[in-house]
């Protein structure tokens, strides 16, 4: 499965978190991989395991989490490395952008120092060279008057500018992989459009692999090559973005796509999914979506976990009742 172009791959990844109310199966056996220059989008609602699977794969899961599975970054099995080497490898090859830029920025350091620091540590630049590199990065991410802004503190920047600074920090070592966890969710829609364009443009120029975590199907439609839809800690559907959006085979994916109001269709009632996503503390035994599913096949769905099976080349779905593609759904 791993070829030379694969930057990060995870196989049979599980994350179990001990809580006072029992063991939460946040991620329950997930496989995916992302290649250089490619964008994989992980889509799902809260508690689906989309963020946790990526944090666990990159060694950032909380201490209370038990992680199993095979994770390879640039072909290296991360489990065989010491904690220090793993950290070094992550710092050098993986950049992170999270939802709230202030969680990534230190409020008492200038943005220039923070962007430069990684290049001192991982690329061995001098303080002076790191500062020049920071200015170059700020220009790259479209921050005007970069030579002055390099000395600004995070609170002196707007929300959109801060997220650009975080992207500069994430990309300063030219990582092979960028992890973007809901990076535009806290931003206004016009700023979101700027950030999405920026990441896509930098990816084209630098050939970075991107794992983009989002609940926003519209954002994902514009930037992903492949999509994995997660529900209850598992991937329920994955494939090329075009195939999954045009011919969703899982009832959950289809319902999610239909639940958004479409201004071009004049409907009074929106399609809804009854109930709420399941808690990782009490996942159903069989198909996790069964209690909310409109298809609701039979008692088999309740008792037996459907396997992830192909419905077309490169398009897989985890349901006993895949929707037949009609080609005229959307």
């Amino acid at each position: 499965m791993t070829d030379e172009e694969t930057v990060l791959s995870v196989a049979d990844l599980t994350v179990t978190i001990g809580t006072r109310r029992g063991a939460a199966r946040a991620v329950a056996g997930v496989d995916w991989s992302v290649r250089a220059g490619e964008t994989l989008a992980l889509v799902g609602e809260s508690g689906s395991g989309k963020s946790m699977s990526v944090l666990a794969a990159t060694g950032l899961a909380p201490r209370a989490a038990r992680v199993t599975g095979d994770v390879r970054l640039l072909g290296t099995d991360l489990a065989t490395l010491s904690a220090a080497r793993r950290r070094r490898m992550r710092g050098r090859h993986v950049g992170f952008v999270f939802q709230d830029p202030m969680t990534s920025l230190n409020p008492v350091l200038t943005v220039g120092r923070q962007i430069g620091e990684a290049s001192e540590v991982h690329l061995g630049l001098t303080r002076r060279a790191a500062r020049a590199r920071a200015i170059e990065m700020l220009e790259l991410v479209g921050i005007p008057s970069a030579a002055e802004r390099v000395d600004a503190y995070p609170h002196q920047l707007s929300g959109g500018m801060r997220q650009r600074a975080v992207i500069a920090m994430a990309l300063v070592c030219e990582p092979d992989l960028l992890i973007a966890d809901e990076p535009t969710t806290a931003l206004d829609v016009t700023t979101q459009a700027q950030i999405v364009e920026l990441v896509a443009d930098l990816q084209r120029r630098l050939g970075t692999a991107v794992v983009w975590i989002s609940h926003d199907l519209g954002v994902v439609a514009g930037l992903a090559d492949t999509v994995a839809v997660m529900y209850g800690g598992r991937i329920v559907e994955q494939g090329s973005v075009d195939a999954v959006f045009a011919e969703p085979a899982h009832p959950y994916t289809a319902a999610l796509l239909a639940a958004r109001p479409d201004p071009d269709a004049n409907v009074t009632e929106l399609v809804t999914i009854p109930g709420t996503p399941p808690s990782p503390l009490e996942l159903p035994e069989g198909c996790a979506f069964w209690p909310r599913c409109s298809v609701r096949g039979d008692s088999r769905c309740e008792r037996e976990l459907p396997p992830l099976v192909p419905v077309a080349a490169g398009h897989q779905v985890r349901t006993f009742y895949p929707r037949q593609s009609t080609g005229e759904d959307r």
């Binding site: 609602e45 809260s46 479209g142 005007p144 707007s158 929300g159 959109g160 500018m161 206004d188 829609v189 016009t190 700023t191 979101q192 459009a193 700027q194 999405v196 364009e197 920026l198 443009d201 609940h215 926003d216 199907l217 519209g218 954002v219 994902v220 439609a221 514009g222 992903a224 973005v241 075009d242 959006f245 045009a246 319902a255 999610l256 796509l257 639940a259 958004r260 109001p261 479409d262 201004p263 009074t268 009632e269 929106l270 399609v271 809804t272 999914i273 009854p274 709420t276 996503p277 909310r292 959307r330």
Partner: protein
């Protein structure tokens, strides 16, 4: 009372409302000359990005912020200078549903107690039994099981908590409900449930809403009239079809084109108008047109003249010196995306 300026079917009307906040850095012009009318049985959608003043406008209708200038009229009465004592009566006429039901419900109270509180405050139930009956009825209305009255907010899901927030707002049978980002913190599958619930209740009970949101598709779906705000002003208003299909203000057009659509080939190929920079500070808004510093079609006149809302079609207004024309020019020549 200045009764004559109130349209016959108006539940609430703001006239030239300004809300300024003094801060150490200067005066924030949060709302700066907003006039709007919410008609009985209708939904007015107020859409804008952070700092546009949309939430402050909603708070002004409940007099939860002090108007600096202008008037606030509710149910035919000018409430702009009502005393704190009289305001309690206003709060029966206008209820509010907040974005985060977790934060707006008292965690120590049961769901039943939270819903019953407005009944007690406004003396709407004669006895404890009458109150319990009314709470059960309100839970039915919002689609919650009656036994949830005994639960605490932390035992409920986000969607259930928002239903409790709606039940609480309905308790006083208000003339107007201000919905401030009521779906923004909910999961996608739950957002549709809440939007359907709100529309169903409106049909059933003849409710009037001010629906405040940053989500344009949701506003379009929910509203009879839409007002787009930018930096303390309404820049365009009209019915949803006019706003969605024939935006006349460059900001509306840019906002619409920034909303991603869940159709990969279309989303990849569509012409987008990407605005440069950020919203300017409301402490020192630009002279002339407030949008001109980010407008791809700004012309010298725009720095001189502060445009007012003018009628450009039936019930369709825009505050742009080059309304319509500017949008056509933008669409013919989209701005390069990645050069801010």
């Amino acid at each position: 009372m200045t009764g004559e300026s109130v349209a016959a079917d108006a539940v609430a009307e703001l006239t030239d409302l300004a809300v300024w906040f003094p801060t150490p850095a200067g005066v924030v012009h949060a709302v700066d000359g907003v006039s709007l009318t919410v008609r009985r049985g209708e939904t007015l959608g107020l859409v804008g990005e952070s700092g546009s003043g949309k939430s402050t406008t909603g708070l002004a209708l409940l007099r939860l912020v002090e108007p600096t200038a202008g008037t606030v009229q509710v149910a035919g009465q000018d409430v702009t200078r009502w005393s704190r004592r009289r305001l309690r009566r206003l709060r029966r006429h206008v209820a509010m549903v907040f974005q985060d039901p977790q934060a707006s419900l008292d965690p120590r109270h049961t769901v039943g107690a939270s819903i019953a509180e407005p009944l007690a405050v406004h003396r709407l139930a004669a006895s404890g039994a009458a109150r319990r009956d009314r709470v059960a009825e309100l839970l039915d209305l919002v689609g919650l099981r009656r036994d949830l009255a005994e639960r605490h907010p932390h035992e409920l899901s986000g969607g259930q908590r928002q239903r409790v927030g709606i039940a609480r707002a309905l308790a006083g049978e208000p003339d107007l409900i201000v919905l401030d980002e009521p779906i923004a913190s909910l999961d996608l599958s739950v957002q549709a449930q809440i939007m359907n619930l709100l529309r169903g209740l409106q049909r059933e009970l003849g409710l009037t809403y001010l629906f405040i949101a940053h989500d344009l598709a949701a506003v379009e779906h929910m509203s009879d009239q839409v007002a787009v705000m930018y930096l303390g002003r309404i820049v365009e208003s009209g019915n949803p079809a006019q706003i969605w299909r024939e935006p006349a203000h460059p900001y509306t057009a840019a906002l619409l084109s920034a909303v991603p659509v869940a159709d990969p080939p279309m989303q990849r190929s569509r012409q987008r108008i990407i605005l440069a920079g950020d919203v300017p500070s409301p402490i020192d808004p630009p002279t002339g047109c407030r949008f001109r510093t980010r407008c791809p079609q700004a012309r010298p006149d725009c720095a001189q003249t502060d445009p007012v809302l003018v009628e450009i079609g039936s019930g369709h207004q825009a505050a742009c010196l080059f309304a319509g024309e500017a949008v056509r020019a933008m669409r013919a020549q989209p701005v390069n995306a990645s050069s801010p």
